[in-house]
Amino acid sequence: MSKFIFSRLLQAIPVLLVVVTATFFLVRAAPGGPFSEEKAVPPEVLKALELKYNLNLPVWQQYTHYLGDLLRGDFGPSFKYPGRSVNELIASGFPATAELGFYALLVAILIGSCAGVFAALKPNSPQDYIPMSAAMLGICMPSFLMGPLLVLIFGIWLDWLPISGWGDIPGDKILPAITLGSGYAAYIARLSRGGMLEVMSQDYIRTARAKGLPERVVVLKHALRGGLIPVVAFLGPAFAGLLSGSFVVETIFQIPGLGRFFVQAAFNRDYTMVMGSTVFFATLIVLFNLLSDVIAVWINPRLRSQVQGG
């Protein structure tokens, strides 16, 4: 197993290098510079700024400088926020994003797997159609619609929940978590339904039923473990997606997370911040994919023997 993890980590290095290189040159190739403004900036000032941030050097020299800093774990100063380093911006935004992602994942797993399993028990019946149509709606409804809708219903009409903020008023984390998690809940519902349907037709389930076990035990004890394997494989990419895709929810609910910085950085041509957050998220995605592969191997006996044998 450790050999498997080690080789996967080695494979991650070229992946990250490609991400760094591609992002570095792409962001500089985009028209418009970090210091352009609507009102003309005096040329002397612009020159001083470019000097300060090494933008006067040839691009390949900027690239080697950047790689050197990166190896030391230094993402450099933000262009847009002169008083902050990229490391500081990431450190300040990431906890909220991670917490939001975690709650959203919980929401997604709880609602998604319950709905999926529930639907799989009576396929092609209303018990299947209703949760699955809801899931389809959840997949289709973007968070910029879902968020304001939930806010309108629970925040303004019913006045049950706070409509924005993060950790200021009790309950203000509920709506963002549901908004962000609902799309993923829908995916998980479909995945777990599919997984459960496949498992429920297997021989060992028939055996369990033949033994006279009650249906509840058959489902919860025998079928669930196998039925949820596709969900587990999805969790890694899902969590990475929740972390890097929280921009819209963070903006709607005024959450001081990293997603807002990530997207704004691209608009602002804040080169170092674009680089820093891309590299950071790319690393996370690689790590979570690895983690979910490891878990998938661990809970699936067939894969486990393959890894150990090979």
Binding site: S36, E37, V41, V45, L89, G93, I163, G171, I174, I252
Partner: protein, 540 residues
């Protein structure tokens, strides 16, 4: 199923737990804390680096220049300077600083503080994009451009601990107004030097706990993308007249979120409002909606180097085929004024002659004279704007008007902000949308941008007489009447040759809770925090 039940239970417990807590507005009214939506996360809180409105909003609570503005009429009123004298020829200003002006650490605010701060603001290494605000001062431009090295040659002199003399190149009637701009705010030398070099960008001096200011409030908390708190500064010279105990600024990038926060009682005041909500507020909650004329012009610029826009008749025809009333009444709907000149009306008493009409008949005739009868042969033209729903709607309306009245085809081209800036600056456009917000209340800020090769004149347009008026004659004018007469002449040239077509005059639109007292409508949307009060008796 057990999981699901547990989850529902969990949600219910949370719901009961939160119930209805007191809103920010009612708690704020009780304890004197003003909650304000403030656009984007501030870049920095260094007055000599930042350029945006959100930053200015916070800095004007933390720092004070020599002069302030009367929030009612924007006339200069004493700030750190208790009085000033202007020489006969209008070029030498002598400021007498008040004896009781202090920094938030108790140090006195001296004339040397101002001299040093202005010196710092003019260091090019600092990257002050607003450095040009110092150009009216004698030799400041030469110093900034590196033509002279000795700062003593710049017209800023300390005569006494509390007396500062500033010498200008020309009498500049709007000079006092500049002193309330963030570029002219003083900074605390010892604090800045404690955290780095004077011309070093982004040191830690602006962090809470480090920041030393001289304004009515002091910085107590700065949580990224969340809030900035300031509280009353006991060392402020006029602290006894400051009623608010503090202000909380929220970065609210998303205007819809901001409006919902206002509706839920989380904000006293917003920075703006979604366009589609204006009508709703007008109908249901008019006392919260505030619309005031704003010192800015929304316009389209032509690339006059590209045919057919090198032909004045074509530009005129396009101008005459725009029904501005339709645009402000049916598209922008926020009380904007149809533009009748480039400078907004009544800019410090200056109202230009109305020269922009709507006359499709004459427009068609001019286009025919230019060689395009009924639009025949007119090249397909691209209209560039930066991506935004508001700009798109206006562009669509004008596209239709030009099609309807002139039978010409316009394609719409939207670009992301920085790409748009790049296209405009490299003159890679035919017609582009633009807006200009005055830096100070004087016609000069609208007219000096159109001189030949001016940094903000991306039209390629040039007129020697115009340059002469703006660069030589108007600055040397002895009185306001002569000066305004010259501006009128310049504006007439501009609106005759039309390198740009003004469309409407902006309004500032915001939401303000009825409990706020002392908030005035002025054309800069300027808020004097020290004059604000919150009425705890007002209905929540």
């Amino acid at each position: 199923m057990i999981n699901k039940n547990l989850f529902v239970l969990f949600i219910l417990v949370l719901l009961v737990g939160c119930g209805q807590s007191e809103s920010n507005v009612s708690s704020g009214n009780r304890i004197g804390i003003f909650h304000m939506g403030n656009g984007t996360e501030p870049q920095e809180l260094d007055p000599h680096i930042v350029t945006g409105v959100p930053e200015h909003n916070i800095l004007s609570a933390l720092l004070e220049g020599l002069v302030r503005k009367n929030p009612e009429n924007l006339e200069p009123i004493p700030g750190v300077a208790k009085q000033w004298r202007i020489s006969e020829d209008g070029t030498v200003y002598t400021f007498q600083l008040r004896d009781d002006a202090h920094w938030s650490n108790g140090n006195p605010v001296t004339a040397e503080d101002f001299r040093w701060s202005y010196w710092r603001a003019m260091q090019s290494a600092l990257g002050n994009k607003y450095a040009y605000m110092f150009y009216p001062i004698k030799n400041a431009e030469a110093y900034l451009k590196g033509e002279i090295d000795d700062f003593r040659q710049v017209g800023i002199k300390v005569l006494d601990e509390r007396v500062l003399e500033i010498t200008l190149t020309n009498p500049t009637p709007y000079f006092l107004q500049l002193l309330d701009h963030q570029s002219y705010f003083p900074v605390h030398r010892a604090t800045i030097e404690k955290f780095g070099q004077p011309d070093e960008r982004g040191t830690r001096w602006t962090r809470p706990g480090n920041f030393v200011g001289n304004g009515a409030f002091q910085l107590t908390e700065w949580r990224l993308n969340k809030l900035i708190d300031v509280e009353k500064n006991p060392y402020y010279w006029d602290a006894s007249n400051v009623t608010l105990n503090g202000i909380r600024f929220y970065p609210t990038e998303n205007v819809s979120t901001e409006e919902r926060m206002f509706r839920a009682g989380q904000l006293h005041r917003t920075g703006s409002i979604p366009i589609d909500k204006i009508a709703v507020y007008k109908k249901e909650n008019p006392e919260s909606l505030r619309i005031a004329p704003y010192l800015g012009t929304y316009y389209y610029r032509f690339n006059t180097e590209k045919p057919p826009f090198d032909d004045q008749r074509v530009r005129k025809a396009l101008n005459l085929a725009i029904d501005r009333r339709q645009i402000v009444e049916n598209v922008t709907k926020g009380g904007q004024l149809p533009a009748k000149s480039f400078t907004p009306p009544d800019t410090l008493g200056y109202t230009a002659k109305e020269m922009l009409g709507f006359d499709p008949e004459q427009a068609r005739q001019l286009l025919a004279e230019a060689g395009y009868p009924n639009g025949k042969g007119f090249p397909v033209t691209s209209l560039l704007y930066n991506t935004s729903e508001g700009h798109r709607k206006i562009a669509v309306a004008i596209q239709q008007m030009w099609k309807q009245y002139l039978n010409i085809d316009i394609t719409l081209n939207n670009q992301d902000w920085k790409v748009y800036l790049d296209s405009v600056n490299s003159r890679n456009y035919e017609i582009s949308r633009a807006g200009w917000i005055g830096d100070y209340v004087d016609p000069n800020t609208f007219l000096d941008m159109w001189i030949t090769d001016g940094g903000n004149n991306q039209t390629g347009w040039s007129n020697p007489r115009y340059d002469e008026i703006i660069s030589k004659l108007a600055p040397a004018a002895v009185d306001r009447a002569t000066r305004y007469q010259l501006f009128q002449e310049a504006e007439t040239i501009l609106l005759t040759e039309l390198p740009v077509i003004p469309i409407y005059i902006y309004t500032s639109i915001s939401l303000a809770h009825p409990s706020i007292r002392g908030l005035s409508n002025n054309i800069l949307n300027y808020v004097s925090y020290k004059s604000l009060r919150l009425d705890p008796e007002a209905k929540p």
